[in-house]
Symmetry: C2
Subunit: 622 residues, 2 copies
Amino acid sequence: MQAHLSHQPCWSSLPSPSVREAASMYGTAVAIFLVILVAALRGSEPPESPFPYHIPLDPEGILELSWNVSYVQEIIHFQLQVQGLRAGVLFGMSDRGEMENADLIMLWTDGDRAYFADAWSDRKGQIHLDSQQDYQLLQAQRTRDGLSLLFKRPFVTCDPKDYVIEDDTVHLVYGILEEPFQSLEAINTSGLHTGLQRVQLLKSEVPTPSMPEDVQTMDIRAPDILIPDNETTYWCYITELPPRFPRHHIIMYEAIVTEGNEALVHHMEVFQCAAESEDFPQFNGPCDSKMKPDRLNYCRHVLAAWALGAKAFYYPKEAGVPFGGPGSSPFLRLEVHYHNPRKIQGRQDSSGIRLHYTATLRRYDAGIMELGLVYTPLMAIPPQETAFVLTGYCTDKCTQMALQDSGIHIFASQLHTHLTGRKVVTVLARDGQERKVVNRDNHYSPHFQEIRMLKKVVTVYPGDVLITSCTYNTENKTLATVGGFGILEEMCVNYVHYYPQTELELCKSAVDDGFLQKYFHTVNRFSSEEVCTCPQASVPQQFSSVPWNSFNRDMLKALYDYAPISMHCNKTSAVRFPGEWNLQPLPKITSTLEEPTPRCPIRQTQSPANPTVPITTEADTE
Amino acid sequence: MQAHLSHQPCWSSLPSPSVREAASMYGTAVAIFLVILVAALRGSEPPESPFPYHIPLDPEGILELSWNVSYVQEIIHFQLQVQGLRAGVLFGMSDRGEMENADLIMLWTDGDRAYFADAWSDRKGQIHLDSQQDYQLLQAQRTRDGLSLLFKRPFVTCDPKDYVIEDDTVHLVYGILEEPFQSLEAINTSGLHTGLQRVQLLKSEVPTPSMPEDVQTMDIRAPDILIPDNETTYWCYITELPPRFPRHHIIMYEAIVTEGNEALVHHMEVFQCAAESEDFPQFNGPCDSKMKPDRLNYCRHVLAAWALGAKAFYYPKEAGVPFGGPGSSPFLRLEVHYHNPRKIQGRQDSSGIRLHYTATLRRYDAGIMELGLVYTPLMAIPPQETAFVLTGYCTDKCTQMALQDSGIHIFASQLHTHLTGRKVVTVLARDGQERKVVNRDNHYSPHFQEIRMLKKVVTVYPGDVLITSCTYNTENKTLATVGGFGILEEMCVNYVHYYPQTELELCKSAVDDGFLQKYFHTVNRFSSEEVCTCPQASVPQQFSSVPWNSFNRDMLKALYDYAPISMHCNKTSAVRFPGEWNLQPLPKITSTLEEPTPRCPIRQTQSPANPTVPITTEADTE
């Protein structure tokens, strides 16, 4: 048991000459690492200021991560606390949480001494020392029940083996070493107890506004319903504000998920019904029920939206979401999306959303607008694609029609796709040129749909274009994945939160149906097989009969990049703004945003064989 | 005139304290550079061994570059000799010889002292100091008539501002500084006298075989003809070997270009006529002349090929190209491609090829095989494309039919396109997997078509597939560029030189005509305009009437990536091997070669603000 640090710790006090001697045992790689330890003796950096962010990494709570961010230095300080440390631990980041091709720190022991190193795993999970040591260990301290490590890393290192930390989702990975290893190269992640946790490391540091004294709460929740044993259910429940409820501002809301149902409740929204109708019928049942009154289709104004992984949402101090009072319907529709793939029976649920509101109205009414793609099977993803992109547009014609001259200010954004979504981005374009990113997540996960405060408020003026692109991975599919409401269908949505509120609630697009039919015709013409693209077939049927050879895939991409679109430029009550919205041309974009070049730390080149080769200059003077 | 180094040189002897003092004048950037000069004092590296390679950089001969290559250290040593140095010089590399986005060394003076630095130019030609100094100055010496600089650089530096030196064409750039500059940042390349020179820096270091004592020469050259005043002429001239000329091996050949016509002679080939015919008519005129006897179409076996920029060509010591003797026609066809865009009249020409041959036959007969695309308008490039790729295949069926079990050994390769070609690559695939690159030029220029010895001989076995892809830039075109013989049409060819010789002389492909017609039909169907794709129109006419929107571009790419091909799997005498060669499936490639990850030099991260921040490790022991 000597090797287990939890029983017989052997964290060396450093430095000592014996460290140098020991180095020779482990060859060149470890020698490089030891040089780093020796270098560490020269100075001392005190532990950083308190860490505002914390998460448990593993379900058992063995590993807890805290961190803070310096945007000036572009550095993150991490504190990793390990309970009951055994032979070591690994921590790091990878593209989508896999243990292969990961950027790692390793803390391990050979049974005698302990080592810390910046490392990486190859595509087989084999661990290697990084030729460039970018994670810097600042402190390693024994705690009452384990160990605490303090280390830092720049956002960008320019080492091709390192993860680039950006302000989108980061997939953290961890692993627990149960036994000593004679060298770093002897470790493979496949033999370890490992896992992942998703987090946004570079959070927007907008201060949480304090709640006014008159803040009150109202719970909009399902009335103890029985979750259907279907894979996908959208549950609709109509409720009503108290009689003569005056105008208030919602300034914060949070989810209330019934204990035990955390995995079943996928997302929830609270909609307000149209003010034009004086009365709405009671309803409590699946949204697609034949019993559902048609009038409930007029309950579509979003008051609050929550999805898996989101935390409490605070509005900026100058804005709140209005509800109650004259000119506003007292009827609310709660929609809960239950995802029940194991078809569990008999589960009761009272999940919903808790609204925090104030009678002291803030300066601006806030609203939510849906950008992206219309929920229609016209937009589809072929199977076996690793990165297929679908794009939805909010055109200049729509923003011209719907926005006031002073524009709107987007302060938060929630990206949304179903299960095959891997990336989402919304870009603002003006005069045919992409100008700024509204929100981007290159490591988007449908299992981590937070509403994120933007680091900078984005102002959208009339005539601006908003382009929302989603990237999908359908490697596991055998048939095309079409757009739609079902969890096995796909969506591409960015819910943007903004003020001052406008009538525009939905600014989305889909390809023109006639052009898609020309596509199916061409598929037919090029196909030697019998392909059913007969007009009586539904679009999902047509897509399911396409033979997915490279030509039909590429031609579908080409179609979506070219064909005219149908715009949904909709007011609050499921009504389009006046105008012609079919067969609209795609926005012309003449210049796209360049990927920013990483700012690499300054370095001197050293040849690996001769770390310090002096160079010579001869020059003579006349 | 004091500032001009040629009159009053001021190369400082270094180091002196004044250098450090002077640094403060030029701010942080120059300070970094001075640190490098100071570092240089610590050691001395002797000049390297002789430089085997030399080229003049500019037409006036002011700048001459010599270099040698260490493949072990992956380093090039350069010697740059400057005659009549004025205020400085710049030298470097860029993607295609442009002065913007170039990787540079700068030698400049502020009128008082001289400086050397690793620098780069931005997309406006503005020069900046490189944050990472990878060019190391080893020696700066005054010579009788100027200056000699000795410096070295690794092939790969992993600095995003540095050019990656590979074994393809490198576009060297140079510039001459006429006046002093107060700082590096004050220099813009647009104000300088600049130019470019193309060269292969990393040449294959196969030793030139010595010529046997019995070597003889024979000139195959045009009989003092008058170059036609047309833009493109292929001139055909039939000549005959001496009577009863026995079998010999050509072991070397070189071009003889009539003085003054260097810019008009684009490429030349010597073909041998088919052995089956006993006699061939005399001919001396344009190859497309109506007077040309049809029988000359049977003179297609390549004996020698030269193109603009190529040097003398030596065969490996175990192989030579057979000619003369029984079973071999004594008739030779010289084909000279004259490129005369200014339609110059009255120019006489006697250019041709000088064959060096021996009666002492070598072990193997060598041959040349054409890979790539058939010369047909079916393969076309839309206008306004920056990097459109066309691919030609030599299929497994053809190599299976034509090659012996022991395969063939490719030892040299000449890539060929016309004016819009920018990249060419041939990859060998086996069992559906790409295995190795036969030859690749990512900086290919139609103005620099050398025959290059391969660094490693590539063996091709029956059943192997050879895939040749060419990338074209048609930004300056308004109509599609179709495949064909004319200089304004395009080609995609790799002439591979190999032994032992086989009957297979041509292994090329083109898209199936019927599928291209389906493409034109679809263009019609999606087009609102009237597009002439009527069957009576020729393919070039059909292409010229396509409206080049994104859909028609993308669909053409998709077609070429998918549609079946027609194979030209041809024997020596313009005759196909027996078998079905039309409507062949494209080779299925399941795994492609990965771009090699660059091996970066080992470095320690340093934050720019604090170049040497020691780190601290605290650890306690129980």
